[in-house]
């Protein structure tokens, strides 16, 4: 998935107009005056109180009907008219629609898809990639919970990233393919600046399973698999739809957003010495060491996530 393909999706998700009920045509509710974010949650009346408040106010439907009937004309006796023969009939009070209670954010579960890249410092990466960047795609699941009813969230999760690169070296005398599979265990701490905007720091640890395959101009092919450690540290911002923009307002359980992160990805070094791939009953083959490959460097990425909370 490329950046250009992600941007429209993000814009659609982030657009307030996507909310079925716009701020200008909303009916006032008990939740309306609540402040944003945590304050909103904390300022919420208890569910029971809210219910009571709902009961005390006319239901939205009722209010609409009342608007259609009023203003009620004051009855002035018409001396020329016959006395009224019918009385004004008032509709029976409607039954209040059931509403879900507000749901304070105590934990969050994020399912994400992301793209990113590592800008490797080692020029040897150019033998496997047409640039020094190693773009990746990945998926993650992260759970965190609020610390001490404050603005901090702490949690962790798992992720999987995949890098697939093709390159060539020595004026295409060698063509190469690089595939990297990276399952990770993640830890994350977030600070909710305001609802809809978090600052986060994330650390990931896991193996990096590297598959290299090279082919010479003479169609001799050699390959190597290496498993190296990987540590990833990244900090960034998460932007997501706050509850007030969602149809269910404070009762919303699901939101979505995107996160942008910048950090450093460290991977262990690989002593590259590919093994020649041969036909049946081959001669014993030896290969020479090609040197060391280091795929660590600055990394950045962005992702879309669906948050259950």
């Amino acid at each position: 998935m490329t950046f250009s393909s992600i941007v429209p999706i993000v814009l659609v998700l982030a657009a307030p107009a996507a909310s079925p009920v716009g701020p200008g045509d909303r009916a006032p509710t008990a939740e309306e005056p609540a402040p944003e974010g945590l304050e909103a949650d904390e300022a919420q009346p208890a569910p029971d109180e809210a219910d009571e408040a709902d009961e005390a106010q006319p239901a939205p439907g009722e209010a609409d009907e009342a608007d259609e009937a009023e203003p009620a004309p004051e009855t002035i006796p018409n001396p020329f008219a016959a006395p009224p023969t019918t009385a004004v009939v008032r509709a029976p009070p409607p039954v209040a629609a059931p509403t879900r209670p507000p749901r304070p954010i105590r934990w969050r579960l994020d399912f994400g898809l992301g793209v990113g890249t590592t800008v490797a410092r080692d020029p040897g990466v150019r033998a496997f990639s047409r640039g020094r960047s190693l773009p990746d795609t990945g998926a993650s699941a992260l759970f965190d919970f609020r610390l001490a009813e404050g603005r901090f969230f702490l949690g962790g999760g798992v992720s999987y990233q995949n890098v697939n690169r093709r390159g060539d070296a020595n004026a295409a005398q060698i063509t190469s393919k690089l595939g990297v599979h990276e399952p990770q265990v993640l830890g994350r701490v977030s600070f909710m600046v305001l609802e809809g905007l978090d600052a986060f720091a994330r650390v990931g640890v896991g193996p990096s399973i590297v598959d290299m395959r090279v082919q010479s101009e003479a169609y001799e092919t050699a390959s190597q698999r290496a498993i190296i450690p990987r540590v990833d540290g990244r900090a960034g911002l998460s932007l997501y739809l706050p509850k007030k923009w969602l149809p269910s307002k404070q009762a919303s359980r699901v939101t979505a957003g995107l996160d942008l992160g910048l950090g450093y990805t460290w991977r262990g070094k690989i002593e590259v010495r590919p093994t020649l791939e041969q036909d049946d009953e081959p001669l014993r083959a030896t290969t020479s060491p090609w040197g060391t490959l280091s795929m660590h460097g600055l990394s950045f990425g962005m992702g879309l996530f669906l948050r259950v909370m």
Binding site: R126, A127, N170, S216, A218, L283, S288
Partner: protein, 520 residues
């Protein structure tokens, strides 16, 4: 900010990052010269890294030794093994004509890559080298091609003594003919120092053959004057090959024979002692005579009977024996064309005799002529050893055996037993891509996917299948290995035992030319 507003800054940032990116270290193909085989190693020149790479085969793997050769301001013009293949030569010249403070240098490395190279200062970017049969000297010259300089002296040469640091730069003092080839005239069968005694002094003769003339230089004595002999345009004689005959009891004066590229004469230059008239320095001179040999001679040798010194030539369908004293000659017919000639010793009941063996490319037989008691054997005819499918090429393996290639057939000819053994193959063999390890004939023709051996005692052929076709065949006697190089720019070869090639004792090495690729 809209998507469109974001697009332009993003593109600018991307372009800026691209511009700041370091250049791709793998954009260019490495400039590596083809391998040169020595007794112990294969040597490659990496022109980019300014290194000489020695590939040393061992039992289980190859070992690489890198030696520095020049620097960023120089380039390697060529490499070649010495004639004994104990060392490898490399000529280093400035990489650019704008570089004026670097002289051309000849490097001489041991075949193992160990030890310091011997370095000779030569004055020009020579394009060719001729090696003396005794392995002591190399003569650098401009061959037929042009060098890298803007202006060059076609008759400039450098005589390098390979067993010391001596180098002698000179210009041939001839008559203006352009140098065509260089020969180290050697008496037939002589392998030792190529010296001939002239007036009690050893003369290490180097013959520089040019159009219509020859220049003779005493390589062993810098003070000795050059001797130039010009054959007039009316003679139409242009020397093509040389033969040196040392003086002996039959004919006391040493003589140098010059075989022309056309014409029915052979020039005989009798070498005589002559001191320099001005300096009194000892020198030599020549007495020139033309010997008619009937038809145009395509090869020649020398043979002394008990009383007569003969020049033996071939070119038609006969051996021609010419008395170099009287210029009288007689022929021994072969019945078909004979263009090449070599001499060997043959064991007979009467003892060891000389035997002349003649053949012709495209011919259908080898002709072996015993030379004992030649004058008394009127009507003697050579023994014909038929090569059924015709001779394409012939390689003299040793005194007793020759190898003949003929299309998809290969013949091992045992001369003492007059035995011709045909070996059939699926594809043509190149007799030049062969080696002899004891009584084992080793064959590895470029393009084939097998290496073959022929036990010359039993004439039993065996072949070992390779995994890839051969590009070049190298026999490394010091390592007792055969190395078959395959065509792959990253380096690909198969190493096998020379004594008994077998897949079980062979191994493949791949990627050795890109060792350290990722550490640019």
């Amino acid at each position: 900010m809209t998507y469109r507003n974001l697009l332009l800054p993003s593109l600018v940032l991307a372009q800026a990052l691209t511009a700041c990116a370091p250049p791709d270290p793998y954009a260019e193909a490495p400039n590596i010269l083809p391998p040169v085989g020595t007794r112990a190693s294969l040597t490659y020149v990496d022109r980019d890294e300014h290194e000489l790479l020695f590939v040393l085969p061992e039992d289980e793997r190859i070992r690489l030794v890198r030696r520095r050769l020049g620097d960023d301001r120089t380039t390697v013009l060529w490499t070649r093994a010495t004639i004994d293949r104990d060392r490898v030569m490399a000529l280093v010249a400035p990489a650019s004509d704008k570089t004026e403070d670097i002289d051309e240098q000849l490097y001489l490395f041991p075949a193992s890559g160990d030890g310091d190279p011997r370095v000779y200062d030569v004055l020009a970017p020579f394009t060719g080298v001729a090696l003396s049969p005794d392995g002591r000297r190399a003569v650098l010259h401009f061959a037929d091609g042009v060098g890298t300089g803007a202006l060059q002296n076609a008759n400039q040469v450098a005589i390098v003594r390979l067993d010391s640091s001596e180098v002698r730069n000179l210009t041939l003092n001839g008559f203006g003919g352009r140098l065509r080839s260089i020969e180290f005239p050697t008496p037939p069968g002589v392998v030792g120092p190529t010296a001939v005694d002239v007036g009690g002094r050893p003369l290490e003769l180097v013959a520089f053959l040019a159009d219509g003339e020859v220049v003779l230089v005493d390589a062993g004595n810098e003070a000795t004057d050059q001797v130039a002999v010009r054959f007039g345009a009316e003679v139409g004689f242009s020397p093509e090959a040389t033969l040196l005959r040392a003086g002996n009891a039959v004919f006391g004066k040493p003589a140098l024979f010059l075989r022309p590229s056309a014409g029915s004469d052979v020039a005989m230059l009798t070498l005589v002692d002559k001191s320099d008239e001005a300096t009194g320095e000892a020198g030599f001179s020549t007495q020139v005579s033309l010997i008619p040999v009937g038809e145009h001679a395509t090869d020649m040798s020398a043979y002394d009977s008990e009383e007569t010194p003969y020049l033996v030539t071939v070119g038609g369908s006969a051996f021609v024996f010419t008395d170099i004293r009287t210029q009288q000659s007689f022929t021994v017919g072969t019945g078909s064309a004979v263009q090449k000639l070599f001499m060997r010793d043959a064991e007979t009941a009467a003892g060891t005799i000389r035997q002349a063996v003649g053949w012709a490319p495209g011919g259908a037989a080898l002709y072996a002529l015993d030379l004992d008691d030649l004058e008394a054997s009127i009507g003697r005819t050579p023994e014909a050893l038929a090569i059924e499918t015709g001779i394409q090429d012939l390689v003299v393996l040793d005194n007793d055996r020759v190898l003949v290639s003929s299309g998809i057939n290969l013949y091992v000819v045992d001369l003492p037993r007059s035995q011709v053994t045909p070996l059939s193959a699926m594809t043509p063999y190149d007799a030049r891509s062969s080696a002899l390890e004891g009584n084992q004939l080793l064959l590895g023709t470029p393009g084939q996917t097998w290496v073959s051996t022929v036990d010359l005692l039993t004439l039993n052929p065996e072949s070992m299948v390779l995994d890839d076709p051969i590009t070049s065949f190298h026999y490394l006697p010091d390592a007792a290995k055969l190395v078959l190089v395959h065509g792959d720019p990253v380096g690909h070869l198969t190493v096998t035992d020379a004594a008994s090639p077998s897949r079980s004792t062979s191994f493949v090495a791949w990627g050795y030319l890109v060792e350290g690729l990722l550490d640019p």
